[in-house]
Subunit: 338 residues, 2 copies
DNA sequence: TTGTATGCGTTATCAA
DNA sequence: TTGATAACGCATACAA
């Protein structure tokens, strides 16, 4: 059996109350007693039972983070930084995986309630249909919800996300400013806000420049799909903006295989500016997403909401920055295309 | 306040005992009553409090997984598959991050005890010095520990890991068999078992072939370090075996930059066969590490140990397979080196 | 300064 | 078939 405060109390001829107080450094108990209690606790190898403690206290000291895909470096990074931030804020982080499935996301939310999380950080699944029901449920149970990386429009919960609109604007404008005449966008299917935002922004910039949009969609946003698309494309544009670095790397590989040089014959850019951008054969122009900042702001928002801050006060938009690298560094590349 | 079984009991004029039994589908309670209880529970939006349940039951239904670096795709993958396997086995998975720090690993182990985990899956930090003390502590508390991905020699706990020795043997033998005369190994510093095993295996095969080993070490096992090493290397071998795919990709990029063609002028291979191997410009020869199999076996071992299986019965070695791709497909490449 | 008693939400052992 | 009641381990108001 595990060592409990009862064991310490018995061994020291004290009451459990005193032991409990002593272990929590209460000023009510004599210093000498506190010392003895702690010594005995250490001697017996006592560890507090967190469940009992949570139950008695009425609060768990935990916040939850749910992410759709831990194998995606973007979310893995988020988990990493949120863990650090939660730790620094004095909260234990519980990590939940929703595996890009709406039904699992729902199940996870239930589990989060059952496990007395004090707040929930949700990076929602990348699906067109989101379920607003559990949001209402969480609100009803007074468990603060904070969206991270992607917002959920039309739902009464704050969110922390990158300024994707601005990021895409910077990128597209860069493509146009450096001479792009056929600036294409390789993206996924519509319906997911984080995708749609970028598409809109792209369209706007092109419209202002008097250029026609050229959008290519893949069903799943993967490196392979981008690779296959570029390999099979008959009529390539002079600039190819990709939804993220992963797809850009796929595109680069395909271009390499076709013997088309970057940036001389075609320019390519990614998005996210993760280390993916550095994995590429040609250093990749990309747009930063400051995941560490998103993580920190999310945790701050969660903690603020735990302390009663109004949801409206907890929204944060993290700026994006353009990182220009070799893959687009060619001013007059439209001329020498094959 | 949250809805409890007391609320259901009061609302239905039943005792909490009956409600609890009904909710757990006990055959003791009348079917009609069970139906009514469940209906009322649903109506009130009842969710069981897992802490109270764990406390009363004396078991939490949870197993823990601790990994050193969630941003490493290898561990992210492990987390993904272990989560699925634990789920299938009826256990909730709690994920802990040790951030490649021994002191955090120790803290995590403490937290695992405090949170009543029924078993622990540990992917240990990749450091030369491991702490065997908490292993003894866990044993003392009867919390089964299972090492995953890396074993901890000299410790009374079972482990599940790839057969790295065999994998490296296959790879090195392949390099020799296809004409390699100067087969080099780009690796990290000694002291970590998973690294040492491969180095030994590499040395053995070369010795048998009458070739001299040629080992290059980087301090940290990163893509960048491999890239920098290859970029600066004056005297390149005809074959470069890398500790993992990540380093191989770094090497490939550097070779590309130097205008050295793979596999014509130099052959390159990785290890792990993750999607890293596919990110590469040149499809990479690699050795599989079946992470899904490791995950499944680890969870099985944990569950078996929870049910009293002896530690000795829970060791598993997952076979490795050689995947030959373009990066080494050149039989007589030693001749045409620059 | 310490001890007694009670409650947190659930399960489990008895009786009824 | 159901109902009291005592745990589980800890925290806390109140009494001593």
């Amino acid at each position: 059996m595990r060592v409990t405060i009862r064991d310490i109390a018995a061994s020291l001829h004290l009451s459990t109350a005193t032991v409990s107080l002593a272990l929590n450094d209460s000023p009510l108990v004599k210093l000498e007693t506190t010392r003895r209690v702690k010594a005995e606790a250490a001697r017996l190898g006592y560890t507090p039972n967190q469940y009992a403690r949570s139950l008695a206290r009425g609060r768990s000291g935990r916040i939850a983070l749910a992410v759709p895909d831990i194998q995606n470096v973007y979310y893995a990074s988020l988990v990493h930084y949120v863990n650090l931030a939660a730790d620094a804020a004095g909260y234990q982080l519980s990590i939940f995986l929703t595996n890009e499935s709406l039904s699992r996301e729902r199940a996870v939310m239930r589990s989060i309630v059952q496990n007395n999380m004090e707040a929930v950080l949700l990076a929602p699944v990348n699906r067109p249909d989101l379920d607003a029901e559990y949001v209402a449920e969480l609100n009803g149970l007074d468990i603060p919800l904070v969206f991270a990386t992607a917002r959920h429009p039309g739902v009464n919960a704050p969110g922390v996300a990158s300024n994707l609109q601005e990021g895409m604007r910077l990128l597209t404008a860069h493509a146009v400013a450096t001479g792009g005449k056929r600036v294409a966008f390789l993206t996924g299917s519509r319906g997911v806000e984080t995708i749609d935002i970028r598409e809109e922004s792209y369209r706007e910039v092109l419209a202002q420049a008097g250029l026609a949009p050229e959008i290519h969609r893949v069903s799943e946003i993967t490196l392979e799909n981008a690779y296959r698309f570029v390999l099979g494309a008959k009529d390539l544009p002079d600039t190819l903006l990709c939804l993220n670095d992963m797809m850009a790397v796929g595109a680069l590989n395909a271009l390499m295989e076709r013997g088309i040089s970057v940036p001389e014959q075609i320019r390519v850019a990614g998005f996210d500016d993760g280390w993916y951008a550095r994995v590429a054969v040609t250093p990749l122009t990309s747009v930063t997403q400051d995941i560490e900042a998103i993580a920190n702001a999310s945790v701050s928002a969660a903690v603020a909401r735990i302390h009663g801050q109004a949801p409206e006060q907890c929204n944060t938009i993290i700026p994006c920055e353009l990182r220009i690298r070799k893959s687009t560094q060619c001013v007059r590349c439209t001329q020498n295309r094959p």
